[in-house]
Structure formats: C-alpha cells, structure tokens
C-alpha cells in the first residue's frame, strides 16, 4: 500500500429531493454540500456536528450505503464512486461500520458467535468452521470472555456495552483497514463509554486501523481523534488537529459548541459567544454563510458571500470571513 491517505474525499455532495408544498417545483435538502477531507493511515478523524449537520450522511456515502449526488471518494488508491458491485463487494471487507444502536444492528435470533462469523462467510474469507473459530478468538479479543461460552448467547442476554463489543467484533473480523464508527458509544452508560473507546484505540495501535469517528460528543471525540472536522448544515466549517481546535477554535460556531459542552473541570461556565435563534430549516439555509443568521459577528458580507474553507495556520482550516484570533500555542 502507498504512504498516501487511506481515504480521500473530494467535493462530496448528497442532495435529497423532497416534495414541495404544491408538488410542482422540485426542492432539495443539501444534506452534504461539497465536503472534502483526507484520512491518513492509522489516523482517527472525527466528524462532529449537531443533528442535521450531515455528519451521518457523510459516513454512509463513504461506505456507499447511499449513492452520492456528485463528488469523489478514493479509498486505498481506488475511486469507489461508480465502482461495480463485484469490486465493491471485495472492497467492503476493508471498510466496515459500527452503528449507534447495537440493539438494532444485531439479529435478535442469531447467536452472537454466528453474528460475528457471518461477515467472514459472506465475503468468502473463510469456511463455516474456520469462521466460527475465528469468531470465538475475536470475542475474546474484544473482552467478551470466555469467547467460547459467549458465542452461544443471544443479543438480549447481553448488556448495551457487551452488545457494542459484539458489533465491534463483527466489524473487525474481516481485518478491515478502515471503519466508520457512527455515534458508536452515544447510547452507552458513561462508565462504559471510555472502555469501548479504548477498545477501538487498541485496534488502531495493534493492527493500524484508520477510523472515521462520527459523534455529537466532543469530549468523547477528544479521547481518540488526531484530527477533527466540525460540520454545520452540510458543510465543514472548521477542520484541524483535535487539540488545536479545542484550544483555539477559529469559527464562532465551533467556539459556541465548545463552550456549551458540560464539564466537571470548568463548572463556572465561560460564555463568550451568544448564538441567535435556532438551527435553520435545512431545506432553507440562509444565503451567504450558512451560519450568518445565528452568528453574533455577522455583517452584510456574511449574508451575501459564502466563505471558502481556507488554511489559517498549518493544517487548520476555517470557513469564515472573520475568523477568531488564534490562541497562543
């Protein structure tokens, strides 16, 4: 494999057609509207955003669970937009997904050993007997011990955290190079979240896994991410190294988002940015900068002209006409 990024996404768009009021004109929700980023080998890249930001749609486009309207997705040197089904099927063993809800993503009548073995059999990587053996090893590996015994259980006999471990085992059994974790720990109890994140982290360390980590929870993202992109109404508004974004957010939206995160350490909340109103209807985003109607600093230019995503310091990009001044390193 080359030294380049494992994933390169260019100008990705997904417009969903919606029925308009009278059913005459065509209307679109621009769920993802020109998103570009790269994920390096062994890198964890987080997409953070509120509901309606397009972060989940982006993850599904990359796995081609849905088809993009336009744009390019290059995975391990190959363009996968428009790739034929047969080739895509082979590609899938290298790209897996972990969903938010382990209750919904596991077949309730399938023993977990079989659920974990299934992807190996489906992708023709092992016969049934080998697959079952490897599933047991994988259950041990993800902390469902003893794997041999756990393999016999049904999903409803497991706790939420255990089910999410099954989902991870199922994703990792084909030894993928890359996974998309879509709100993978959001529904878990707080004492469990960190252990699931450290399990994912251990796969990165040991087998060089790259990851797209999609979440609305910035504190969790911070635990595992090298870099992060903040999305708002279908666009990336800021992108850069995780630590730098936390210490020196350049986009007013990023700063407001960070200040709203509850924290045991900062109990006296410092609020420097007061947002106006609510997230606009995605069918009807404001003209110019999409954040302009909520931004306390917006002026006439912001309402008129859409800002480009530009690099303001090494590796730190922001889409704002008036970015906040950088904090010192």
């Amino acid at each position: 494999m080359s030294d380049g990024p494992i994933l390169r996404v260019r100008d990705l768009k997904k417009y969903f057609e919606i029925s308009s009021l009278l059913g005459r004109s065509r209307a679109f929700v621009k769920a993802v509207d020109g998103v570009s980023f790269e994920i390096g080998d062994k890198e964890v890249f987080s997409l953070i955003g509120e509901s309606g930001s397009g972060k989940t749609t982006t993850g599904r486009l990359i796995l081609r669970l849905i088809e993009p309207t336009s744009g390019s997705i290059n995975f391990m040197g190959k363009e996968i937009v428009g790739m034929g089904e047969e080739e895509m099927r082979r590609m899938r063993k290298d790209m897996q997904i972990i969903f938010q809800d382990p209750y919904a993503s596991l077949n309730p009548r399938m023993r977990i050993g079989d659920a974990v073995a299934e992807p190996l059999i489906v992708s023709g990587l092992a016969n049934e007997e080998e697959a079952k053996e490897r599933a047991i090893e994988m259950l041990d590996r993800v902390g469902l011990i003893p794997g041999k015994e756990m393999a016999q259980r049904l999903p409803h006999n497991l706790s939420g955290g255990q089910r999410q471990r099954v989902a991870i085992a199922r994703a990792m059994i084909t030894r993928p190079k890359f996974i998309v974790a879509d709100e993978a720990v959001s529904m878990l109890d707080m004492s469990i979240k960190a252990s699931i994140v450290s399990l994912l982290e251990s796969f990165r360390r040991e087998v060089g896994l790259s990851m797209l980590f999609i979440t609305h929870d910035i504190s969790i993202a911070k635990l595992i991410s090298d870099r992060v992109a903040i999305m708002y109404l279908g666009k990336i508004v800021e992108m850069g190294p995780m630590r730098r974004i936390i210490e020196s957010p350049a986009h007013p939206y990023t700063k407001a988002l960070l200040e709203a995160v509850p924290s045991v350490m900062r109990r006296k909340r410092e609020k420097t940015i007061e947002l106006k109103g609510e997230m606009p209807d995605p069918r009807n985003p404001p003209s110019g900068c999409r954040f302009s109607n909520r931004c306390p600093f917006a002026n006439e230019r912001c309402h008129r002209e859409e800002p480009a995503l530009v690099e303001i310091e090494r590796g730190h990009f922001v889409s704002c006409h008036f970015p906040l001044p950088p904090a010192s390193h």
Partner: protein
Amino acid sequence: MPLMSVESLEITYMALGGRIKAVDGISFSLEQGEWMTVVGESGSGKSTLAYAIMRLVPPPGKITGGKIVFDGMNLLELDKEKLRKIRGKEIAMVFQDPMTSLDPLRRVGDQAAELFVEHEGLDMEEAKKRAEEAMKSVRLPQHVLNSYPHQLSGGQRQRVMIAMAMSLRPKLLIADEPTTALDVLVQEGIMELLNSMKEEGTSILLITHDLSLAANWSDRIMVMYAGRLAELGNTEDLVERPLHPYTKGLLDSVPDLWSDKEVKPIEGNPPDMRYPPPGCRFHPRCPMAMEICSKKEPPILSIDKRVVSCWLMAKEGGKA
C-alpha cells in the same frame, strides 16, 4: 422545613420469577429553590424515583415502603382527586421524550391553553393569551402555537413542555433526562430555562446519567447505584472530594474537554437487577472492596454535609 423529604423509599417491580427492588431505601430532602440532580446509570433506579414522586410508577412497579412528604403532605397517602390537583400545579414533570406527553393530533397552542382552563379555571380566550405568554417566556416563536408537535424540532418540543410546566409556577419541577436526545447547544438553552425557574423559587430535581451536566448546574448531587444511594453532597464537595469509590470511578471515567487527565473506565457492568450482588451492590466493580463489602450491606452514613453508603467510610468514623 424542606419543601420535600423522601424517607426510606422503596419501589418494587413484581417480575416473572421474582421481585426487583428498583429503589431500595432512598432518603433525601430538597429545599425550596434548590437544584438537586440525581445521577446514575441505566438500572440505577433514578427515573423510577422521579416517577414515584409524581405517583406515576408504571405497573408492575409498586411503592412498597417509605414516605414522600411534600409541603407537609405525605404524597403516598393522597387520594386521586388531591393528586390530580398537585400534579402540574404544584409538581410538574418534563420527560426525555416530549412526544409521549403531547397529543400528536392537536395544535400545541390548544394543548397549552387547556392546561390553564383545567388548573386556573380560565375561559378559553384568557387561556390562549396565557399560552401565548408562556411560549414567549421560553423564546419560542408564536407560530409554534399553531403547529402540531411533529412539526417542531426536538428542542422546540422540549421547550414547549417546559413553557407549560413553568407557566403554572410549580413549587417543584422534575426533569427526567430532558436533554439526553438533544444537541449540546439546545441542551444549554434548556438548562438556562430550568435555572431561570430556580431563580424564581422553583425547586429543580434533575435526573440524568451525565455527571458533567450535573456538576455544571446543580447545588447538590445524589449518586445512585443499583437502586441505592451511593453518595449525596454539595456539588463542589462531591466532585472535588468524592468519598464513595463509585463516585470517584464515575469522575475518572468521564472524559473532559478541559482536562488531560487519563480517562479510566469502571471495570465490569452494572448488575442485573434480578440478581443483585449481596452486601454492597458495587463491590464486584469496586477497586477498594474489602471482605465485609460482599457480606453486609453498608450503613448510610452522614459525614458533615455529605451522605455516603460505604464500608470504607464506616471505618473512618462516620455516624450511622
């Protein structure tokens, strides 16, 4: 005198193959104008406790012991008629999913107005005016009144519920995971609304699994584990000097944006409440567990302004 005191409350679910004590001997009091947050994981009994105060424990659950004294009355002894008057007017509750408490087929404004007809005996016209004011007070646009619940965002629906709860000026507001499904900016707006109610004298009982949220907004925090009280204290004392190993474990397991401390998960899982462990229910996960912890339930100790249930503290001279 506190606004409410809960004494040795016990709630039991009669399940196939046995009884589950979802809430087991919980006592605390709440002052007028105080914000207390109950923190716990799934199965801790925190929501069951909230429902019990409203006398809304869903069957097969039953309040099997204890007292809830609110404003001088034991809520557990009130008849249906008196309860109906207290609910909404004296004690209001908002839930995690506001869709469960809004009628999907009726406009929001009509539902809000009905509240004032019912509780304040207003005629429909006056009631509609009050509903308008209520939506304004939570900064919701007027068109919300003419909308059906499904036409609103999750955050807007929750603000509608809070507007309705606020407008009757209850003495106590119980909020059960009101922001769990919402984004952080929306969550912050909701917390600010609860705080403004508190400033006007309403007591707040927030139920959440999020210790950070509790730390940011409450005067006191009660930590529950497997149906029992683990620790209760002033927010600052509890987060800065936790006494119970479970509280400490939670604090260590919560990632924090503004700290580089190492995050350490609590090993193991909360118990299956059908088969709770003997002794202290936390002992199988407790790094400090001693022999006695697996044999005998720890006493509930008062140490200064703190309440803690742990054998480690019993040894260090707390009073039972």
